[in-house]
Symmetry: D2
Subunit: 216 residues, 4 copies
């Protein structure tokens, strides 16, 4: 029996769908993760480029949009177990180049910026509360890395009962084996996998036109 | 460059070690996950057997010990996105056979039983608070599945700044590809990997003898 | 300047209102808190009686309804700092009479029962996730005690960005000074105060009639 | 029966004590809360002055020290229900004068600064994780306001099973009625009340001398 067959037999891998009030979550697309010499590489650059289109459509439709950045204190006071495992993360401080969101995806006023020190966008942040304030029922996930902060955020998003969709062409990783392995795990247990084109098609069916900020 | 080399070059994969006050966390070793016809299979049975020795030593040393069970409400009132992805999870109710901890690892009085509905042992539970009450600084993780509730719990354990160790011979999964892939991810970013024998050797060096409940 | 004037001058005490998707939260109306010889007294009995009408209307309108119970483990394994301050709380175990929801407010299938050991209904529970799954934007709070678990739950409800309303005639406390003092604090900073009659009037304006389970 | 007698009869008001690893938490002593024309007044200024001595001793003893600031986004993107109740809170942005910690209590390198938007120092922050990383078992609380962010933080501190002590002369409020009422509630259920002198005396008995940074 293949791995997929084992999961199917035990009842995993069903779809949780897209609800009525989706939000877009863009995880750690910052300069340091766009740079193969720092934390980047693999298919991350391609994922950033693909996210530009999804972001533009989300803005046109007036969806709530949240970004995350990894930000550690300048004095190292908030270093912890994560920075024991990966000490170079502490380079990502408030004003460091590596911690700024990439120019292609620059946030606009009213979009929410989450500063975090842990993998999940929800851990030790007010992201859940922000989604509640916007009436969100579905989280569309892009960002990097698939096997790191995307995976951790997807588990929490699902655990808070947001329907969760991973935009497969808009998530990237420094190494492709973990990228693929984590897409498999997430699809079986936590989230639906869709391309950004598939997501956009559903959004234009689903989101009430009066919410949209204007014509496409 | 191999995947491992990419991670090494970017500064991942360091050790976070074992502190002075370890606790043992045993995740979802319940009948339903011991049964290949329900949620089990793979190397889960072997992991249960290997956990018996580690549990006995942890008891001898007087370590805080916590178990998790997946428990959904009898009336389905707490079904959510996780049970959309995997509807058969709702079979695990308070008194169902599948939700009882396996006989080989039966909890004793004073050991903490976490009821959970989501992957992480920490999500929507008081496990963090219980570890704080016991002065815990390190979590030794066993259980199943490696790619599911173990991975999710390890991320949260590390995020709460508990030094986290996965007992490699005491975690199991229904399919071995995800098991291996998740061990790789966890070692690179969140936890140390050690066999139960290696862990026990460190415990007997580290834990003050006066804490131990008696001679080995 | 009176205390109220100080708060007004500094810009507190505004209304946060009722949104489109209210839920009813009934906190700790269990036998032990209905009994003046255990944890009850004051105006708690009256608050239980007043809650009956609000519960009936919430059911007629099909609102999501959640109840909390305080439940400690039979073996005392989850005792903590709260039970150092108030040791008699550990009497409230799963099958103890004191921990059962009062007969007048008996939950129905599909209504959510939160077991908790700490003051807030949200702390270490999945209540936030359950409200997300129901699309809730407003929490209507009843229960006891006003100065204890109601106050703690109201802070968290507001912090998660649920518009929060305390039903003044449906919350009670063993002593009236703390009851009044906590209503003042909550109104200034966290929640609106309304009688159950005022709440019901708004619900019938606000909740789409097609949601209602049937005629009044 | 007096209110105090009711609480005593029901078993509240016991001491939870001070453990072996206390930390100092200084809540919202920022310019905006030191200014009676913004959010200050009452006995807040006096509490700031009294905190100077406790902070100096905590530093001499090498205790972990954390400060909180209220910080909202410049573009108002994170406004929520709290800012519906109290709109002027949104004046407290990263670089506003009102949001800076008062000069008398200026943090030093290695001390942890928590940015928060909600009442509790623990809500949507990494404070619990930071205390775990420092092995903290007890939280000594100072700050303002007693009836607001101090009360909310004390509930969470206790809920996470940190023994919690309110330094009575180091907490302040814009109005004295709520200050006194909240001290009563906290002592009965969540925390011990001690003066800063009493706390310092215990610290010098309790904290191992080798931890202290030097002679007094």
């Amino acid at each position: 029996m293949s791995e997929l067959e084992i999961y199917q037999k035990q009842g995993f891998g069903n779809s949780s769908g897209i609800g009525q009030r989706p939000a877009l979550l863009i995880i750690d697309f910052v300069n340091g993760f766009a740079n193969p010499e720092q934390f980047g590489g693999g298919n991350i650059q391609e994922a950033i480029e693909n996210t530009q289109g999804l972001l533009a459509e989300a803005r046109a439709l007036g969806l709530p949009i949240a970004f995350t950045r990894v930000v550690y204190a300048d004095d190292g006071s908030d270093a912890g177990v994560f920075t024991l495992k990966a000490p170079s993360l502490t380079q990502l401080t408030e004003n460091s180049f590596g911690s700024q969101i990439v120019e292609q995806l620059k946030p606009q006023d009213g979009e929410y910026i989450v500063r975090k020190t842990q993998p999940s966008a929800f851990f030790g942040t007010n992201l859940t509360a922000w989604f509640v304030s916007k009436g969100v029922d579905t989280v569309l996930v892009t960002g990097c890395t698939t096997s790191g902060c995307v995976r951790a955020s997807v588990i929490d998003s699902m655990s808070y009962n947001f329907r969760t969709v991973v935009a497969t062409d808009c998530v990237g990783d420094r190494a492709l084996g973990p990228h693929e392995a984590n897409l498999f795990d997430m699809e079986q247990k936590y989230a639906d996998l869709m391309t950004s084109s598939e997501i956009i098609a559903v959004l234009y069916e689903r989101v009430p036109t009066e919410t949209a900020a204007g014509p496409r």
